[in-house]
């Protein structure tokens, strides 16, 4: 059973407020130069891109490289322009995607 990403949003947000969004996802972020217990090199496998959209519009993006730690934690900010739902997408080498949605409680 893979771990579900964790998203931390403020409980409520006002229009015009700049909020912090914290995301955490389970992933080994294999560099491609480690040796496994069988002695063979473990193939590179990264989550290479992280995208966050809010109300259908991209609000933040990150390109992750080998220098990013395993189980990536990313915190970023967004100015609240109106109500909406976040969609977070992590894309792995090879194209597999992890997606997580969470609405923002705008007051």
């Amino acid at each position: 059973m893979p771990a579900k990403p964790r998203i931390r949003l403020p409980q409520t947000a006002r229009i015009g407020e700049v909020i912090e969004v914290k995301t955490l996802v389970a992933h080994a972020m294999e560099i491609g130069n480690r040796r496994g217990s069988d002695g063979n090199t473990i193939q590179r496998l990264l989550l290479h891109t992280f995208e966050a959209t809010f109300a259908g519009k991209e609000v933040f993006r990150a390109n992750l490289h080998t220098g990013t730690a395993a189980n990536p934690f990313i915190s970023f900010f967004m100015k609240v322009l109106g109500p909406g739902e976040f969609e977070f997408t992590w894309t792995e080498d090879g194209g597999a995607k992890i997606t997580e949605r969470q609405p923002l409680n705008v007051t």
């Binding site: 560099i31 490289h65 080998t66 220098g67 990013t68 934690f73 990313i74 970023f76 900010f77 322009l81």
Partner: protein
């Protein structure tokens, strides 16, 4: 391995870096940070022929990492973040890693502030480099030394 017992003076590094940058030292891998990676080529792709200026970037980083596998950091770039003037991207590099790129973060005016926090890997003691790409086409940079130590019962 923690080979650098002496911490490099941060101001000296910044001055040194500026000198290197203005003399186009970055384009020459041999003049860049010691390490297996071609940092010159990476910088070329990120800033082209532009010369990054020291400033505007605050890089929150420990002075020693007890382990290089997870090193917490936060980057904040000073900008009004308006449609007219904002930070487009921040790139973080660890030039002495086997591959120097850590992450690139892309902002919009709606970001509100150009501020991110994450965790990086550092293969050895080195100076990490943050570069900010501004909406007007200029670049800022900031460099910070960090020691990475060998640890644990197994050395």
């Amino acid at each position: 391995m923690a080979r650098d017992a002496e911490m490099t003076d941060r101001r000296a590094v910044i001055v040194g870096l500026s000198a290197m940058a203005t003399s186009a030292g970055w384009a020459n891998p041999a003049a860049a940070q010691t390490g297996p990676s071609d940092i010159g080529a990476v910088l070329k792709t990120l800033v082209g022929d532009a010369v990054p200026v020291e400033g505007r970037i605050a890089l929150d980083l420990p002075e020693i990492a007890e382990n290089g596998n997870t090193v917490p950091y936060a980057i904040r770039v000073d900008s009004p973040m308006t449609d007219a003037q904002y930070v487009k991207a921040v790139h973080l590099l660890a030039p002495a890693n086997p591959l120097p790129r850590v992450a690139s973060f892309f902002f919009t005016p709606q970001s509100g502030k150009a501020s991110v926090a994450s965790r990086m890997r550092l293969a050895q003691t080195q100076e990490v480099l943050a570069i900010a790409a501004m909406s007007d086409g200029t670049f800022y940079m900031h460099k910070r030394p960090i020691k990475v130590t060998v640890g644990g019962c197994g050395g």
